[in-house]
Symmetry: C2
Subunit: 495 residues, 2 copies
């Protein structure tokens, strides 16, 4: 007998079907929607979110969860119940009014941020942002009480269930130890290489065709997804119809290409989530850190790998009509060039963690209440100087105002990027141990055996295992360890 | 005090917001969705439809409607209440199970029809179609009891509230009287014109640009809508972001152009519906007949008008790089050529009503139970011979299998097309009386004064007035009259 559990599943099915609408509407908003379509769209999204919230937090749910615990459930069903319970814990305690007010403050802050950023207007931004912080702190406090963890840790649960800032601290402290020195060593080494840039432009349509050819090579399934254009590259839609986007710029085709490769990592994870209990929480992606580990595996471990670059260079040259100029181009050095810079999304993989640590240290203290929004710019400048030796004093535009996450209230997300990079390096290490001559496999262009490793160890597990278990199963008992990331950096840039 | 009424309005707002999702998901399904995205999409659409159905038919609604009747409502609010009540009447009596079973039988029939049509497979189609008819008859019977009208009339209410088949009969009998003779007279006359066809192809992108230029001339607002491509042209999306589609074929640019013009009529109606009570039923388009009257006003009254064709001919020639061949083309005769044919959607405006009358006479008897699905092909053939003098014996593909409406269970829709054509001619007649030298206005390309007439008399009224009142207000007290349509035909083809 598992009637209570099955009733929970039926509710989850409804949530899944409503969430489908939300995902497609969000994708449409970012790619297709008309200029004046936003008001009606926001109303519709709010209505659907409200319906989902009601389904998750209905009074009967607690009872159903409690009674399901003693029912006759198999391992997968128990994992599903655990995920249902987590979702309920993260939602039921938050008053609907607080969520709505928080969402409204985020919408306003985000909307005005788009212009304030261009104008370097920190003061204007601060006014709205204080409201966002206020609501996020309230939510964090309530969740902190429910879960018995710190307010910031409570927000992390939204993106990486089970993760605590104590663990992040341990990992990041190691990175901080070697990052500044390694960065300057790499920069010193790369100074000696004379970079030949590609001068010829590639029109958008040709760029799109190039992207499509390369991501097909990486297994993107165009019968279950699409590639479109948007202002910021993202992976959206639903797992049955996953929609990645990239941004095209005539003279920066490598950007659109590597953004496509990155999003393909997200897409393949979604396209290969378990088909069993497919509309239940246990079949969702495990966490945003694991999600980023897939995009970064595709982008950094495979895409920027010298063997892969050797593989795709002739393809790229074909799209440039074999322009002899390209024979002079050292694609590997061009793609893997390292340089401290202001903008996170444009940063190379070596300096990227510094950007994340700056944000992580600030947002942790901000949510836990030891600093105030006013304190951010000077802290930002201080830390950028310490980790990357560049100053952002007075330059809010290329500093605190560069990201959408904070105006959008997504506190706790940033660490996932760097955790993802560490995971990706670790997956690659353990995959290499199982796959003979992995560089040769990558050069061959037939990467199926690598995808099989990812599918077996990551994709097909969905949320069946909690993250440390998932990691241990994939990595012969080891948990996440920064050394694999450091080894990867040293191998790539010093060998 | 109008608390009950306001509670109804709040429910309608929820319905409006959920329906937004349904409309965008439907549009996406027809234009963008991936090959394997259909299953998840159908589940999501079913869930949203089910939520809407629950909102409309909740137990409290009857009480709220009854109590609202005695509240202090103004004219517009009373009209809104009337529309809310109509919607409730049309929905609450139908068991959710019957709707779901009907919908399932339609999905199956429609899905298999796509292949059966190509294979001329009437027998295969009949098997599924019987199920569709069975469910539609059941629904019609229930609604017939609720509304106290015939089963077929009950289904008409879905598309044209208030309309009865008795009125349609009166109009169609007149058309049948003169249509066969007038058709053969026009054909005889047109035989003498030697049509010069356009041999040069126009690539899809250029066709799209041409369509966009022309529909901008017709006031399509691209800040509140889009033009895309789909297999069948349609007008979808939501009124804040209306999305028309056309179908492109390299050597048939006039088809994509006139389909775009047609859909622009639908779009402008939606784009200009009232902003007051915008999310309430009273601000919806009045009916599908009135909707078709707008598309046909744009396509036939304006688009095919000799003055408009004189206006756009130079534009068309510009897209053909002023190919001298086009100087030989008589665009008016090419666009307004009349010929009895098998396919409704390709028919000219003179023979079009015959296609509708064939379908109307059959579906009326089918739903009312005096004929069975098996009887359709021979009746179809008989009527096609009688009205258009062409036989479809054994040719199901170009006969009964050509339309999606019946497999989709849309019985009662077909009359709207021809009613729309009659309305369109009548609007044009009365607009001409108020607008000095309307042909000159059309040739000038500045049609604002005509759009103002439509806006004042049709668009901005939404569903405030019932259809006969809407008509009388626009037409100096007259109700719908076929003579305007006949005059239009005679003016266009015999002058």
């Amino acid at each position: 007998m598992k009637n209570n559990y099955l009733r929970l599943c039926a509710i989850q099915e409804k949530i899944y079907n409503l969430n489908h609408a939300r995902c497609i509407l969000n994708w449409d908003q970012a790619t297709t929607m008309s200029v004046y379509g936003n008001n009606a769209r926001s109303q519709s999204l709010a209505e659907i979110s409200s319906s989902i919230h009601e389904l998750i937090t209905a009074k009967k749910i607690k009872k159903l969860i409690d009674s399901s615990q003693t029912e006759d459930l198999n391992e997968l069903e128990l994992a599903n119940l655990r995920e249902i319970k987590n979702e309920w814990l993260m939602t039921h305690a938050l008053p609907k009014k607080l969520i709505a007010a928080g969402h409204l403050s985020q919408l306003k802050c985000e909307f005005e941020w788009r212009k304030q950023r261009e104008k370097n207007d920190w003061k204007g931004f601060l006014k709205n942002f204080k409201n966002v912080v206020k609501h996020s702190r309230e939510e964090a406090k309530i969740l902190s009480n429910t879960l018995g963890i710190s307010p910031y840790d409570a927000l992390i649960q939204r993106y990486d269930p089970g993760l605590k800032s104590k663990e992040i601290d341990k990992l990041f402290v190691q990175i901080k130890n070697w990052l500044p020195k390694i960065t300057s060593q790499i920069c010193e080494k790369q100074k000696k290489i004379k970079l030949v840039k590609i001068r010829k432009n590639l029109d958008i349509k040709t760029q799109k065709n190039l992207c499509m050819e390369i991501i097909k090579l990486l297994g993107f399934d165009f019968d279950r997804g699409r590639l479109d254009e948007s202002i910021h590259p993202f992976c959206g839609g639903v797992k049955e119809d996953i929609r990645i986007t990239t941004r095209f710029n005539k003279n920066r085709f490598l950007h659109s290409l590597f953004a496509s490769i990155h999003e393909t990592g997200h897409a393949r994870y979604e396209q290969n989530l378990p088909r069993v209990l497919y509309n239940q929480p246990v079949s969702k992606a495990r966490s945003m850190s694991i999600h980023e580990s897939q995009s970064l595996f595709f982008e950094k471990q495979i895409g920027c790998n010298p063997s892969f670059i050797r593989r795709i260079s002739p393809i790229i040259k074909r799209y440039f009509d074999f322009d002899p100029e390209l024979d002079q181009v050292d694609f590997f050095s061009l793609i893997n060039s390292v340089q401290p810079s202001y903008i996170r999304v444009d940063a190379d993989e070596v300096t990227y963690p510094a950007h994340i640590i700056v944000r992580y240290e600030i947002e942790k203290n901000l949510i836990n209440g030891s600093i105030e929004p006013e304190d951010i710019p000077s802290l930002w400048d201080e830390k950028m100087i310490e980790y990357l030796d560049i100053s952002t004093k007075g330059n809010y535009k290329d500093g605190v105002l560069q990201d959408i996450h904070w105006p959008g209230g997504q506190f706790g997300y940033f660490p996932c990027y760097t955790l993802g990079a560490i995971y990706a390096a670790q997956w690659f290490h353990f995959a290499s141990q199982e796959i003979e001559n992995i560089d040769q496999v990558i050069f061959s262009g037939d990467l199926e055996i690598i995808f099989e490793w990812l599918n077996k160890n990551i994709w097909s597990n969905g949320s069946k295992y909690e993250t440390p278990d998932l990691t241990k199963k994939a990595c012969k008992g080891e948990i996440l360890d920064v050394k694999y990331f450091r080894n990867h950096i040293e191998n790539r840039y010093f060998m």
